[in-house]
Symmetry: C2
Subunit: 127 residues, 2 copies
DNA sequence: CGCTGTACTATCATGAATGATAGTGCAATG
DNA sequence: CATTGCACTATCATTCATGATAGTACAGCG
């Protein structure tokens, strides 16, 4: 069995060939976070998992968000095809936002972050 | 079969009682992100999932990170009990960092972010 | 017609996060 | 014993994300 040429010392096992897959993992995760970056993207997405919403409805869902931020983040989410702007057919002056199918693929990740957050809050309380 | 009281359907239904669980979800997710915030926390954690490492080893794993940032982030991760600083018993001048058991509980979330990141990169390539 | 609500955009200010650079004390190494 | 590597810390500069505030165009409503 040939080992790939790593820096080693002591228990070689500790360090064997970390870097490739490690780097790949870091990159992938950073790709995700890049799309979700900023303070408000996930709150917005979460708000929209509860139904299609109008601008002000989202704003009301998310404490302390400003119009400027909501507008900006929605645009970025649209660019990344996570969120879609839709016009009401009946009254076209009404705009709504909805999660795209692609946006919904974030659900498993959000679920995990949700679970961990809940758990973490518990843990903190115990101290 | 009783349904939990959810929103659904146009008009009033769209907004019925979203806010409570929605807010809870947002908060939990934000709790998670609060702990993982910054550019480097997840890369560090990922690096450490590949084995206990010394300061410079982690630094080498993560392109472009500076000593200052690595040091700072490691401290925060320690404070949050995700990472542990350990002294080698044989040669106590050697410091290593390891993921705590608690730190490992982040794994499912990281896995999902990883999967999504991979998938997203594919999607982008297709365009 | 005036008022309120919606869905924004524009401008400016600020603070926090990060980067760049330098320096420290200690250990091991040749 | 000089040099290199390790594991940091300190200081300063800069950028970027966010916040604060104001303003716009359009619509529906009474």
């Amino acid at each position: 069995m040939q080992k790939t040429p790593v820096f080693l010392v002591e228990e070689e096992e500790t360090q064997v060939h970390t870097t490739d897959s490690c780097l790949a993992a870091m990159k992938a995760v950073q790709d995700s976070l890049y799309v979700l970056n900023g303070k408000w993207k996930l709150p917005i997405i979460i708000s929209l998992t509860f139904g299609n919403k109008r601008f002000t409805e989202i704003a009301r869902d998310i404490p302390r968000i400003t119009d400027r931020m909501l507008s900006k983040e929605l645009q970025e989410l649209e660019l990344n095809m996570l969120v879609e702007r839709i016009q009401d057919e009946a009254s076209p002056s009404i705009t709504r936002y909805k999660l795209t199918a692609y946006g919904k693929t974030l659900d498993p990740a959000i679920q995990e972050l949700y679970k961990w957050g809940i758990n973490h809050r518990e843990k903190i309380k115990e101290e």
